[in-house]
């Protein structure tokens, strides 16, 4: 059975990965032998300089999902490269580093830093960052998306994946802009904008007032977005949004995604990614599908 997927020049042993910001693998908690079975690992988004993150409360439970406003708390690119990359390399699982920046200049500096790191599987651009010239996110503006992806692509030694936001009118416009600019793949979806209010105090629940919705609650929305994008672009898509089971993941693969990532459900069921992988294999055996490529985009409409 062939489960391998290629994005740009990087080959991933299987299509199951984890969504940025939702997976850690500290040895005191995880069985490394299991972590090594993943098709790729995507750590939390890294920015050029350390960010302290948003004031608490940062998370809130919602029906079949959660709101988060973590604020990309991270130690910055240099610390990540020095302290974390060597540990990731030992795992020998393809590493997709997620990065974000507030300007094109900072994105370029980030790329140059990561160009110096050998053996990266890919770089994922988290484009849910403010688009400085307008009051939108980069991922909400096809022109800004095109500009950033192009600038990065020109310099990057590794494949570039653009991570897109669902908070747009027409995802296909953004997806096409990223593809035109040379992206090797797309990741979707990031969280849906949302909020919650404590009626006793009439204050927003989240310290940041608003946040992003994720988890099984968003899955049908994510599936529709992935399906629509897959109709328009020819580059591989890493799909995420509420995936909890192999059945959920299969929906995304059939809709046209090449890889699937477990996000929020890692917090609830840490075994979810491996259960998803086992379930995909079982389905392929039952359906007599020898190559995952035959499954991807096999939707019958």
């Amino acid at each position: 059975m062939n489960l391998s997927i290629k994005i740009g020049k990087t080959k991933f042993p299987n299509p199951v990965t984890v969504a940025s910001g939702t997976f850690g693998w500290k040895e005191k908690y995880y069985r490394l032998a299991d972590v090594k079975k993943l098709g790729a690992i995507v750590p939390k988004t890294i920015t050029l300089h350390a960010q302290k993150g948003n004031p608490p409360p940062r998370i809130h439970e919602t029906p079949a999902g959660m709101l988060n406003a973590i604020g990309i708390e991270n130690a910055g690119a240099d610390a990540f490269i020095q302290e974390k990359i060597p540990m990731y390399k030992k795992l020998k699982v393809p590493l997709i580093v997620s990065v974000s920046a507030h300007s094109e200049k900072d994105f370029i500096q980030l790329i140059e830093k990561f160009n110096g790191v050998k053996g990266l599987g890919a770089l994922e651009l988290n484009l849910s960052c403010p688009n400085l010239k307008k009051k939108t996110l980069v991922a909400q503006d096809p022109k800004a998306t095109h500009r950033i992806v192009k600038a990065v692509k020109k310099r990057a030694k590794m494949p570039i994946i653009a991570k897109l936001s669902p908070n747009v009118t027409d995802i296909t416009k953004i997806a096409e802009a990223a593809e035109d600019a040379g992206a090797d793949g797309l990741s979707m979806i990031n969280t849906l904008a949302g909020m919650a209010i404590d009626v006793k105090t009439r204050k927003p629940v989240l310290g940041n007032v608003t946040g992003g919705l994720s988890g099984p609650a968003v899955r049908p929305v994510a599936l529709n977005i992935v399906y629509r994008a897959a109709q328009k672009v020819n580059i591989p898509i890493i799909a995420m949004g509420g995936i909890a089971t192999a059945n959920d993941a299969l929906e995304f693969l059939i809709a046209g995604a090449s890889m699937v990532a477990v996000g929020t459900m890692n917090f609830i069921n840490p075994s979810a990614p491996l259960e998803v992988l086992a379930g995909i294999k079982k389905y392929m055996r039952e359906q007599k599908i020898k190559d995952i490529q035959k499954l991807i985009g096999s939707i019958r409409t």
């Binding site: 500290k26 409360p57 079949a64 973590i70």
Partner: protein, 255 residues
Amino acid sequence: MQKVQKIYKVINNKKLCQQFFHLCLKPVSAIPEIKPGQFIHIKVSQGLEPVFRRPFSVARAGKNVEVIYEVVGKGTEILSQKKPGEILDVLGPLGNSFCKPPKGVKQVVMIGGGVGVAPLLALSDVLKGRGYEMVLLYGGRIKGHTFNMRTFCKNGCKVYVATEDGSVGIKGRVDKLYTKIKANAKETFIYTCGPRPMMASVAAFARKHGVQGQVSCEEVMACGVGTCLGCAIETRSGYKTVCDDGPVFDINEIF
């Protein structure tokens, strides 16, 4: 994928008093040794309602793992329905633990508010018989928050209770009991867990008398293993995670 994910069997789940339940669990396979202050992260329902696991301090650890909890919402309501023999998906033990009292300490003061008393019981289990003068100051809102403190007494603790309505012990908040603290900067050490305003009052007392101590903190949690950064708490050295850096912090780190 996580080695801390285990199946536990419910041995017992009974009312401890009007407001609290006592849950006794048996891990189906071996788990690491549990230290006082650590917690377990329980999936209370098999479905997605509620989605998050619920964290509970370990109140006693031996052959079985015991939890004392209060029903405050849907998760704890579901937990209160569990019957002996049912199985639960549990992550744990998680988090750091209370430190040993520093050298020279003679009086160990435990200050618990409501169900926050739970990890202090686990602490008294390991500190008993070591020559400390142990004192538990317990504050509950009403009679329904008080329970038989026999286990603390058996561990050699002197127990003092205050209730806000005066139905049990002295009337008022737990700060009325601070007179029991010797407050000798070198010889007294405080451990506290309870509602934030109560812990803030303990911290103010400790600072005033130069007494050291530790607090066990709470924040809403998703992963429980330091990944999501959702349970951040502001400390003097920046944001830390309650689940992985905590739940136990130096009293001066937080207040």
